[in-house]
């Protein structure tokens, strides 16, 4: 019986992620998912009932693999933005436009994370470092994803305002949010 509130919270979050500003930005990987008529993201938009069905029944394998591929790309993009941001902040004379480009990528990708991990896209389907614990402790996972989203939005807001000191100050909690989700939920590379 514990699954019901979790599933509800999860689908509510999916909905909020879909309705968020990131959809209007027309980001590539979001567009990838949305163009597929069977995609969970589109299914979600039609209502909470549908999205709960989506969570209960795993997507077909080809769709699951596509979501996993998009997820990989999104996470890799996030990693690249993190590295570029780190370099820029360490360079001694950070360029605010470079900083902004990275934090914008982070904020838009972070908003998508929960929707990139529907049930049935774990290691039982294909090659992934996503641990089964993501779906066993979905409430913890979703909370951590939300924490990361908040951290990414905070640093993006700081970058947009042009306050480099605030960006520096937000950087640490961004790192911690990445790590606090990766440590329990991501398997080692090999």
């Amino acid at each position: 019986m514990r699954i019901a509130p979790i599933a509800f919270a999860f689908s509510a979050l999916l909905l909020s992620a879909c309705g968020g500003p990131e959809t209007s930005q027309g980001n590539n990987s979001q567009a990838n998912i949305s163009t597929d008529s069977h995609s969970p993201a589109t299914a979600n938009a039609s209502g909470a009932t549908n999205s709960m069905v989506m969570l209960a029944a795993a997507p077909p394998k080809d769709l699951a693999l596509k979501i996993m591929h998009d997820r990989h790309e999104a996470m890799e993009g996030l990693g690249k933005a993190m590295k570029a941001l780190h370099r820029e902040l360490e360079s001694g004379k950070p360029d605010i436009t470079v900083v902004r480009a990275q934090t914008a990528t982070m904020a838009s990708t972070a908003a998508k994370i929960p929707s990139l991990f529907p049930a049935g896209t774990g290691p039982e389907v294909g090659k992934t470092r996503a641990k089964p614990e993501i779906w066993k402790q979905q409430d913890v996972f979703v909370r951590k994803a939300r924490d990361f989203q908040a951290a990414a939005q905070a640093i993006d807001a700081a970058a947009k305002s042009g306050d480099l000191n605030q960006v520096m100050a937000s950087h640490d909690s961004l790192d911690k949010a990445c790590k606090s989700c990766h440590d329990p939920f991501r398997a080692p590379e090999h």
Binding site: K83, E90, S91, C178, E189
Partner: protein, 228 residues
């Protein structure tokens, strides 16, 4: 081997700095492996910096330390290795063959530390102190090799331990002298000429100073903020 041949009482063969470097290095290599596999990348980085300090210290001590610590006493050519294998060697310290193993181990660890210095973790959270001096692509590549290179170190450590077991089966204890510093030596062998303690302190100070500079990102060439 006849026991009376070696029964000259136990003599010093390894000085304290050599023994300390040996056991600290062994411990730190194990700790580096453990920490990075248990999500303590920050500890892993500091462990690497400590290993770098040991390497620099040992390099300096290899020129100005006790006689058995000096490269000039144990780095020998292939002729010496051949003589040793034929049983024609009666020195103290590293055997001509063991010296090759020592150089390989220190060399492999030096390569590993160098790769770590310019590496960056896959998430862009942790960076090596000198990673800012190279491109992101180079840092990522260095990390990949850093991970693979550990297998080289593991192989050499396995060989090292296998050799110790081999000698042990033939009646020679190598581990205890590395702890106590003393061993039975051939009656005709030159005894160890110890180094000076204040020279060891200078070597330590110099190695710490160099690592301190590297940990700052090697200014003025770069800048590094340690993990918080």
């Amino acid at each position: 081997m006849a026991p009376e041949h070696l029964s000259n009482g136990k003599q010093p063969v390894w000085d304290l700095p050599v023994r300390l470097v040996h056991w600290t290095l062994a411990g730190l290599i194990a700790f580096s492996w453990w920490s990075v596999h248990n999500h303590h990348t920050d500890w892993h980085i500091w462990s690497g910096c400590a290993i770098l300090t040991l390497l620099i210290f040992r390099l300096l001590w290899g020129f100005v330390g006790s006689s058995t610590a000096r490269f000039s006493s144990f780095v020998r050519g292939p002729g010496a290795v051949r003589d040793y294998l034929r049983g024609r060697w009666s020195g103290i310290g590293h055997t001509p063959l063991g010296a090759l193993s020592v150089l390989a181990l220190f060399g492999a660890v030096a390569v590993q530390v160098s790769l770590g210095l310019v590496s960056e973790d896959e998430d862009g959270i942790y960076t090596g102190p000198l990673s800012g001096l190279v491109s992101i692509t180079t840092s990522d590549k260095a990390r990949d090799i850093h991970e693979l290179w550990f297998n080289v170190i593991l192989g050499l450590v396995a060989l090292h331990v296998a050799a110790i077991i081999f000698y042990r089966l033939r009646g020679r204890h190598l581990t205890k002298p590395m702890i106590t510093g003393r061993a039975m030596i051939h009656p005709g062998a030159q005894p160890m000429r110890p180094g000076k303690w204040w020279v060891a302190l200078i070597c330590l100070a110099v190695s710490i100073a160099i690592v301190r500079w590297i940990v700052a990102g090697a200014p003025p060439f770069g800048h590094w903020t340690p993990p918080s």
